[in-house]
């Protein structure tokens, strides 16, 4: 057994390392051996999404530094995400900064609709991609999307499968299901409903016209995720919107108060350093 690299070579026969290995691999005084063609196992034990998790952590730090609430909105295509966002932005933009990132495979149509509602919006076109990832969101985060105490909505690509796996640095995923879809979608796409904190049941103004059993849908969703919060609303008629807006406001206040706690802790630590660092300075300041 080679004590230097543990490659399993036991015979002191004449052999040589490949160039790449020689660069950082020496056996002083001993025979050099060759394991360029000997298979060896490397244990990795690494999450496949480790890199996305790193980028998501970076985004999360940017948001935390500003006490921002960031929500990742996920749904099928056509659930009414953009209409909901337009109504939400108009209702909240005077209370605190509201910003939107829109993900679609093609076109900037959604971002244009949202900018028309008077809030900054950036479109990410994923091309053939079926989901947003933390790296792409990080690149989209220009100064117009970062504001102290603001709320950033990330409208993901319409897809109930792929976006479930990709943390973007958000505080929570909000899944939107409309009553024009099947009530059994929480069972058909369980990973997304399991990954979400809130489900918005949208287009309830259409309930008289469709065969959609709300209670059964809620039951299915809670089977997959017993902790899932559920709100029923219609972005078009405005019914139920108040509860959703309150949910966002509560989240925004929560992020901001956590931000204040962190700033106060930093301030207290800085004061402590000043006091321990020298009485002279302390007297002149106080």
């Amino acid at each position: 057994m080679c004590a230097t690299c543990g490659c399993g070579e036991s015979e002191p026969v004449a052999h040589s390392h490949s160039q790449a290995q020689d660069a950082n691999h020496h056996h002083p005084g001993g025979p050099v051996h060759d394991h360029a063609h000997e298979p060896r196992r490397i244990s990795l034990e690494q999450d496949i999404l480790a890199k996305n998790a790193e980028f998501a952590a970076g985004n999360r730090r940017l948001f935390a530094d500003r006490g921002m609430l960031v929500l990742n909105l996920v749904s099928s295509p056509g659930s009414g995400k953009t209409t909901l966002l337009v109504q939400t932005a108009q209702a909240l933009r005077d209370a605190f900064p509201v910003m939107v990132i829109g993900g679609d495979q093609q076109t900037a149509r959604d971002a244009e609709r949202i900018r028309a509602a008077g809030v900054p919006a950036v479109q990410i076109n994923t091309g053939k991609g079926c989901h947003l990832d933390a790296h792409g969101v990080g690149h989209a985060l220009d100064q117009s999307l970062l504001a102290e105490g603001g709320v950033l909505f990330i409208e993901n690509v319409g897809n109930l499968v792929c976006p479930a796996d990709f943390d973007l640095g958000e505080a929570a995923k909000v899944v939107i299901l409309s009553v024009t879809e099947g009530e059994d979608k929480p069972l058909k796409y369980p990973n997304m409903f399991a990954a979400s904190r809130l489900m918005l049941l949208n287009k309830i103004d259409l309930l008289p016209h469709v065969d959609f059993d709300v209670d059964r849908c809620v039951d299915y969703a809670r089977r997959v995720n017993p902790d899932l919060q559920i709100l029923r609303l219609s972005a078009r008629s405005g019914e139920g919107m108040a509860a959703w807006l309150d949910w966002v406001r509560a989240g925004q206040r929560n992020e901001l108060s956590q931000h204040i706690d962190r700033l106060e802790a930093d301030l207290a630590a800085a004061r402590a350093r000043l006091i321990h660092g020298g009485g002279e300075i302390r007297r002149t300041i106080i």
């Binding site: 790449a20 490397i42 369980p190």
Partner: protein
């Protein structure tokens, strides 16, 4: 088809590790995928064959080890086996359980030369 993104992540991690340790070819990759993870294994295998092209893993074989779904039932206060995210607890029939295993997506090991 986020399996393509997953495979890009796999190839990236595998390439980095292999080069860092001074090897030049990946012969085999072992993944651990939970039975309840959001991954279609056939799509993952297909994507792997496409994404590995022109990398040091171009001829690498893919071995997928499936890990079983395990959960803790809050009602029964004990460990249970689950096959789907919407399965009831096999003991009490309730849904108040928390997943403790079965959603893994890990690169476990490589064989390199």
């Amino acid at each position: 088809m986020h399996e393509f993104s997953l495979c890009e992540g796999i190839i990236d991690a595998v390439t980095t590790q292999t080069r860092q340790q001074g090897f030049s070819r990946v012969r085999r990759v072992w993944l651990e995928i939970g039975a309840l993870a959001n991954v279609e294994l056939d799509a993952l295998r297909f994507a792997f064959e496409v994404v590995r092209d022109n990398t040091i893993a171009a001829t690498a074989e893919l071995d997928i080890i499936t890990l079983p779904g395990r959960a803790w039932c809050l009602n029964c206060a004990q460990a249970i086996a689950v096959g789907e995210l919407y399965d009831p607890c096999p003991l009490c029939g309730g849904y108040q359980w928390r997943l403790t295993g079965g959603n893994e997506m890990r690169i476990k090991e490589l064989e390199v030369e």
